[in-house]
């Protein structure tokens, strides 16, 4: 079925390490960058690391539930990206910046 029979050659721990590294790269981006678009992209990267881990566990355990959860994560990511980018456009229209450090002037 697959291109190579991955169960005999790759252990699931390798997928755990790979997605941990991806998640930490995304976390580093969220902490380091200031451009709000890059921050949203790093959040997408972290969500994809989780998706990869869900899929790996789902395949290795022979249970389809993990892949269904990946669908729901994709739905939430799409909604989050749409609303986040709309807020970003609104902020840019008012301040001419997408720098998140500028947003500490927000007052309730």
């Amino acid at each position: 079925m697959s291109i190579l029979n991955i169960f005999n050659q790759v252990e699931i721990s390798h997928y755990i390490y790979l997605s941990t590294v991806l998640f930490c790269i995304g976390l580093f981006g969220v902490l380091f960058r200031r451009n709000a678009i890059i921050l949203l992209m790093c959040i997408e990267l972290m969500l994809n690391a989780v998706n990869l881990l869900f899929t790996a566990f789902s395949t290795y355990m022979g249970d389809a539930d993990g892949q269904i959860f990946v669908f729901f994560i994709m739905v939430v990511a799409a909604a989050e990206a749409a609303v986040g980018l709309a807020i970003l456009v609104l902020v840019y229209r008012n301040t001419r910046k997408t720098d998140v450090s500028f947003l500490d002037q927000l007052k309730g």
Binding site: S2, G29, F32, A64, V89
Partner: protein, 179 residues
């Protein structure tokens, strides 16, 4: 440990991590978006290796096709393609690297001391449309319908936020935004 892994897995993992690092470190936001699209392509290739064929196609269509085009569109609309980010001091980078590295270290160490995760019984064909559809429309039908409501709410919210404000009904009043 790494040398008895199959070559496609190694190459794909290497490309994934490399392009993810480029997403984070690139100065030009357009290069970041393109590198992220490449990352999604490699993750889709991982899904194919993992026998999740339908998820691979959905990942390409939804992420690389829709979400990233939305990002690129907003980037072009706001005209941010040049290097517009203010230069940060190195301390921020060091602090962020220490934080992310600590998390990586802790998760890896926790996994080392925990029990070995083994494959139970890999089943052929659970990543195909037929098997996934059966599960999605029987056991997960209520969350599936709720996602429709979530999408509707997100769509209404995005349209409401993105609507150009008319004079007199400003969403954020001018004197607040300028102050």
């Amino acid at each position: 440990m790494l040398q008895n892994l199959p070559i496609p897995f190694l190459v794909l993992s290497f490309l994934t991590i490399l392009s993810a690092l480029y997403v984070v470190t690139s100065k030009n936001p357009v290069h970041s978006v393109l590198a992220l699209i490449f990352t999604f392509f490699t993750i889709s290739a991982h899904y194919v290796l993992l026998n999740a064929q339908f998820l691979a196609v959905v990942n390409l269509i939804v992420y690389a096709g829709a979400i990233m085009v939305l990002f690129l569109f907003v980037l072009m609309l706001l005209n941010l393609s040049k290097e517009s980010e203010p230069v940060k001091s190195n301390w921020w980078g060091i602090a962020a690297a220490i934080s992310a590295g600590s998390l990586l270290l802790i998760i890896t160490a926790a996994f080392q001391v925990s029990g070995e995760a083994v494959a139970k019984n890999p089943v052929e064909g659970i990543g195909l449309v037929k098997a996934l559809g059966k599960v999605l429309f029987t056991r997960f039908v209520v969350p599936f319908e709720l996602t429709g409501i979530l999408f509707l709410a997100a769509m209404v919210g995005a349209v409401l936020l993105g609507k150009r404000e008319k004079a007199g009904e400003a969403l954020i009043s001018k004197e607040d935004s300028n102050g």
